[in-house]
Each structure stands twice: as C-alpha cells, then as structure tokens.
Symmetry: C3
Subunit: 133 residues, 3 copies
C-alpha cells in the first residue's frame, strides 16, 4: 500500500515511489498493478518532461468537467466534488505495468501520476500488487 499526501489539485508524480517499492520486492519479471482506492482521485501515465503538458492536462479536465454547481444535482460536498467523480471516470483508478529487468516497462517519456481532483489536502492510498519471479 502506498500513501500519497496531496496538498493541492492536480498531477502528483509517483514514478519514483513506485520504482522504489518494486525494487524492494526483488523480482525481475512480472506484472505490477496500482489501484487507487478513491472516487475523486485517479491514476494517469503521462509525459514526464515538459511542465506545460501537465498544466494543459489539468486545464483540459477542468474545462470538460467544470466546477460549476449549476451543472450537477450532487453538491453536498462542495463544488469540486462532482467534477472530481467525473474526472476520475474519464481517466482510471487502475494501471497494470509489465516488469522488464526488474523495473516497470515505462517508455522514455512516461511518468506515473496520481491525479488529485479535490482542492483540500488529502491522504490517498494506492493498493499495490506484484506477481512474477
């Protein structure tokens, strides 16, 4: 289980935390699965180089699932709650990545991100599973 503390809305890179956990398991080949145990935060693999890409990604999801209370029936938990569920539905809560030479087989430009969709700080937990040898 990995715990991620998010201080703000947006993409939080967890590539290195995941890499460290995988390394500690000591396997060479296999399949790694990440499962985000929340309905208002999700997982995303995205470009890890240009900061502008992540800004554009955050701005895009803010645009297609806006924090506009008049658009939703559910607003008990604040104007950022329902769009958080929608942005989670449009991305995903689970990722599986094969292992190569003991590491997740990410491409050169791929980073793993927790996508926090709420404004307030949260503790998010990601269940980790690894099978292999």
């Amino acid at each position: 289980m990995l715990e991620v503390r998010t201080g703000r809305q947006g993409l939080h890179e967890i590539t290195h935390d995941i890499g460290r956990w995988v390394h500690a398991q000591g396997l060479t080949t296999g399949l790694l699965t990440l499962f985000c145990r929340h309905t208002s935060a999700s997982l995303l693999i995205q470009e890890n180089a240009a900061r502008a890409v992540r800004d554009d990604l955050e701005a895009y999801f803010a645009r297609i699932a806006p924090e506009d209370p008049s658009a939703y029936a559910h607003d008990d938990e604040g104007p950022d709650d329902m769009p958080a569920h929608l942005r989670t539905a449009l991305t995903q809560v689970q990722l599986s990545i094969p292992l190569m030479d003991g590491r997740p087989a990410l491409g050169t430009w791929q980073g793993i991100y927790l996508f926090e969709h709420r404004h307030m700080p949260h503790r998010r937990t990601i269940a980790l599973h690894l099978i292999g040898e």
Copy 2:
C-alpha cells in the same frame, strides 16, 4: 464468467456479485480482473453512497457523447448505438483489483458498476480472472 441483465441505460452495481464470486474461489491474496465483452457497455468504479452522484454521471456522459444522429455517420443500429461506443471508449472495458484478506481491495466509497449504454434490455457477459493463493 458473470452474466448481467440490464433493463435500462445507466449504472448497474455488481459489487456484491463480484464479491460472491471471489469468495467462492477461496483465495486470500491475488489479483482479480474483470473484462466486459462488449463495445456498448463498460465498467466503472464509482461512489456507492449518494444516488445523485450516479444520476450526475449518467447525465454527464449523455451530454458529452449525445444521442444526436446528426453528429455521427454510423446510425444503422439506432441513435443510441454510436454514443454507446463513445461512452465505452471514454470509460473502460477492463478493471483489475488486488485482493486483500480475500476481498477486492476497494476503498470505502467505491462500488463496481456495469455501465449500460443502450436503452434496450441486454444480457452482458463479464469474463472474470483471478490469480493468487
């Protein structure tokens, strides 16, 4: 294989059916995979408490991939067919969930849903796979 009969468009909770199937396999740890064998129905993990969240989710996907025949070339199978493919593409047909203490490691507020995108009743099949010990 799990069969789900859907009588209407929208989210159908299958958390308990999945939990029962997993329990019957008798494993403690491992990885569960659900695979929806359709192109006009999908899988979604979402908030299982407030009914309004599910209503908003259904309304949102109806809005971003509308049943508007003038928007699509493909309309042989009715005005709800092409948007059904789009809504399936925007969500997913596959989910993998680690097992903890013999149960899917869902968060407190997470439920597993089959998202039916057609209006007519359908029989949907979900292939289930479990590996572990």
Copy 3:
C-alpha cells in the same frame, strides 16, 4: 514486445498480431496484458465490424480534444502533440484480457486497436505480458 508502425493518425487494428503472439506462448488459461509505452498513442477495444464506427470514433476525439494551438500552452512539438496527450489520457495505455481456450476472451464484436494520435509515421512499442498455464 510488439512493434507497430503507424503511417497515419487513427485506429490501427492489432487483434491478429496479438492473437498470434498469444498462440505462440502455448498457454490455455491466464491473463494477457498490453502496455503502450507512449504518451501520444493509446489502446482501445472497439467494434471491429462497421468501418463507420471507427470513423466516428476518430472524428469524436478530434472534436473533444481539438488540434487548436490557441487552446494549449504546450505547442513546441506541433499542433497535434498536446491533443495527442489529451486523447491518450481519455482512453488508456494499458489493457488486460483473460485467456479462454488459449485465446484472448474478446467478445464477438471486439477488436484491439492501437490509437495513433500523431500525424507523422511512428514506430510504437507495446510491452506484452502473459501469465497462466
């Protein structure tokens, strides 16, 4: 590892390449995982019959994540780069499919596609993982 050469933007069917690779492994049951090692190409399971469905899918993603430079901060790599990241985020880079009788348990109308989001020809690599017996 599967290499796919894409000559144009859009959906490229890889169902048969995947089926051949799986067959060569000689397993009967198990779980197949595909992982696309890119941030501007993704994976999609979609209807493999009507060509119009794929045209509509391509047109839809072009519409909701348009190639409009004025919409994004990041445009160093051309007007199709940022929308490529967005379309990848809206679909997925990973798919797991259970095996049935030695073959991926796809439904009758399901095909596996690499979704190329850039215009220029690319070599895309998909990491493949199979566990079973």
